[in-house]
Amino acid sequence: MPTPDEARSPASRVRRFWDSSVGKKVVMAVTGIIGIGFVLGHMAGNLQMFKGAGAAQAMHDYAVLLRSTGGLLYVMRGILVGAIVLHVTAALQLTARNRAARPVPYAKRTPQVSTLASRTMRYGGVLLMAFIVFHIADMTLGIGVPGFRHLDPYNNLRNGFTRWWAVLFYVLAMLSLGFHLFHGAWASLRTLGARRPSAAPLHRNMAVAIAVVTAAGLVAVPIAAVLGLFRDDMPVSEAMSTARAGAPGITPAGAAAIGTASAAASVPRA
Amino acid sequence: MDLISNIPSGPIDKKWESHKFDMKLVNPANKRKYHVLVVGSGLAGASAAATMSELGYQVSCFCFQDSPRRAHSIAAQGGINAAKNYQNDGDSVQRLFYDTVKGGDFRAREANVYRLAEISVNIIDQCVAQGVPFAREYGGLLANRSFGGAQVSRTFYARGQTGQQLLLGAYQALEKEIAKGGVRMYTRTEMLDLIVVDGQARGIVTRNLVSGAMETHLADAVVLATGGYGNVFYLSTNARGSNTTAIWRAYKRGAAFGNPCYTQIHPTCIPQSGDYQSKLTLMSESLRNDGRVWVPQSPGEKRPPHQIPEAERDYYLERKYPSFGNLSPRDIASRAAKEACDSGRGVGPGGLGVYLDFRDAINRVGRDKIEERYGNLFQMYQRITDEDPYAVPMRIYPAVHYTMGGLWVDYNLMSTIPGLHVLGEANFSDHGANRLGASALMQGLADGYFVIPYTIGHYLASRKFAPVAPDHPEVRATERAVEERLRRLVGIPGKRTVQSFHRELGKVMWDKCGMARDAEGLQRAVSQIQGLREEFWENVNVPGSGAELNQSLEQAGRVADFLELGELMCRDALHREESCGGHFRTEHQTADGEALRNDEQFTYVAAWEHAGDGQAPILNKEPLTFENVHLATRSYK
């Protein structure tokens, strides 16, 4: 039987932190928040698709801008990959621990207040992982996208979403992301102990906003593509891009900062 | 049997101080050589075990629940008294002492009560330092409320969960010592007998309630803190597991039993609703701070309470006891409720209930304030009765609550068996014939934190202890007796369930040895109980075996002991030809129905000595002298 004294392990601080259920969960929350930041920035970048005339150029310029940051892009990519690795590792380990904590299931269990979202974090997470792999292969590496061209995200997206199954998978994945964040955005602040006590701790207004905005914002692009809202735009001009790259107002307001991060996952353009 | 009370000489306010100096000490390095068994992990047991371990003794602690935190002290709601005089309302050690002696109807030992009052202030300090979240005022200082039998506000509380919070404090101190290795805790372990070797208490025999295994624990001293025996009445406010087994076994091994008939019937409990009822639930006495007790003026009143006009209500406590009113002591309030119901004016099913009405308080201070003060009690009431006490008055009725009687102990809390110490509700000591509200928690913690740690050292340092071999004939004999009894219990090819015997015993006790007693009824009860006991040993049905988790067997052993104790209680009640405190003999009352004491003949502690099965117990008397409080008729008018 475990005794309290065994609780003092000689391992290092970091190791002990990672080994504890709370520590691991904190890592999930921090990496999850990094993910939220990325996703919001990425979404903002994507919404340039709706600029109308010049959208293709804007998307291109945006892609070029991200590449012009030099090493920063790689730092961000590193952070994101690291975050995903940590998030997923912790998710797997915690899930294993949680399963082991109840080896004999109940014959009958009636959830009282837990949301479907919270109970499906693990499954949603698996879907997201699959999506991330697909998405990088698809939009970053261009594998299987008809007429894929480097640094032309506008047309790549337009073309990519001519495949109905890609649209379907994308939409599904983004809805599940919204679901993941409906619980995650609320939970992460509590996990970090950063929430003040409240009379109704289960309420989650901010999380709903984040979840709805990300899911809606990200789903808008494939839906619009299917509806044919993205016309053939002007062919992208390299010359113009350099001229306009530094000009203000190109990237949508507020996206500039996180925009860097969004490029790091190198999802659509690169 | 000699009853040597060992009360120190000198003026009352110096006795404990000088006694502490006179007592022998065990030097720190030697303490760990002594092993003390503490049976019980309630306020008394947990505080004693933790404190003795802090001092350096080796301690083993036992409880029958699955965790020491579940001892029945957890259920105390209202509060704990202490003579802090934080309210500047004239309280003092002297006044708490006086109130307690008077509240006990002059049947307690003065010196013990004075010590209790003195120590009370240290208890609060100790508990605050442990992190007990007592109620506080906005200024950050401790809050107080009033309790029955006192005209000062000296009760400290933690919402309606004072016992819980105090016990958790003691439990946490105990767990701290367990972690350090000073205490070995045995949960789900029941003491079934006491081992006496060469006239000294040297160990106990226990049963592991999970595996059924019998275990013998030998030590240098034994401390019993096993709580009260109110469950002899079957229905009481005690937990279902509360029992007399530990002290009863000790009694049968030679410890005198003090004042077994002194039982406290608490005035404010939720009335019984049916035969299946398994326990009665207390509504804290603190409710009487704001609730007004009344019954309709006329017998057989059928209207719902809110339709009964003010003029047709009888606020009988306020009427009969104007200076204490709704805060009259428990024995008085209970008897008054019984009288009201006996006169046909009781309310609710069967007419066994009186109203406790918060209408006026809600109008005066607002519903919010009342909710803040008693929210959880109101909730509990509503859960049980399905009635909203904010809208309709509560219905309450007296119920057995506390047993002032218990093993006789001297000033050092040692019983008549050397080495056997008894603390908390299990001993007979400080409350005389009636305990004031919020004084049991005080006594349990005083005994455990501040008395036994000193007096145990004195005992251990005063004697030589040869080790007892596990195969010592006395040890073997005790083990065999326990085994034999268990074998007998599971072997009876009977028909009736344990519970049915318990229920029947309870009914006899309640009817004949309850709120009002008389010689004829008590005599009848003695023979009824004897008959029931005989039937029990022939016709009880205990399924299963002794070698497994067997709750019927646990219950059977406890009920078997209650069946013996019940008789002793009736005999004690029968012999005490007076009314005092919780003991009300209908033959002895004043013209207006108040208790009539007989100081000339009965100013003593009745300490009963076991004389062998089937023999009448022997009565020993410890005379009580009152040098500091004037023996007077108790009046709360």
């Binding site: 065994e6 601080r13 709370v22 109940y106 014959a107 959830p111 207040v113 701790p201 | 965790s67 992190g131």
Partner: protein
Amino acid sequence: MNLTLRVWRQAGPAAAGQFVEYPVRDISTEMSFLEMLDVVNEQLTEQGDAPIAFDHDCREGICGMCSLMIDGVAHGPMQATTTCQLHMRSFRDGDSITVEPWRAQAFPVLRDLCVDRTAFDRIVQAGGFVSITTGNAPDGNAIAIPKPDADAAMDAAACIGCGACVAACPNGSASLFTAAKISHLGHLPQGQPERYRRALRMVAQMDLETFGGCTLFGECQAACPKEISIDTIARMNRDYIFGAAFEQEESRAGGAG
């Protein structure tokens, strides 16, 4: 009213268990759930069957001894209520009710519906106390404690250690129990000296006992008969993070000696 009970029966810790159905007749709505089980047990005893073992003691919702997963809900359908305080009026005539023990690796079944919850005691042993010894406390009013702090401490201290939080949690986590104690002491000045050490040690012990982690489902809070808030868990994590980052390693040289 008449009911059908489906009860988990298991003869001992190592024995295999199964559900057994019992028809129950003429139950009064005024009975508590445990009183209903008492009736069943008396009948079983009279028939010569083994009565159903279940834990209980105070029967007034404070000792934390009673348990039971009733139709998939810890302590049954009534909010903020222990099983012993649950009354049969919460059920309807003809209902079929499934009764199971708390299930968790850290709470092994002892018999039928009784489980071993001593893991909770060991979590407290790891640090759920204030390290003072009897007799050296300052006056109770020496340190003023703001009422809101005292109240918040009391809210958390109301935990009765019944284990419903573990039972209700899909992860079998003891976070609410552990966090309640950490919050209780953490809100009070007396708890400050050991605040971060306490969080580190109690969480470590909670993990050692094989409880699951917290996903913030909120089920524990809903099941808690004392309505302890999951806000306490946020507090526990904060103390844990702070402790993990800043708490000094205990000096090898020890104290003053």
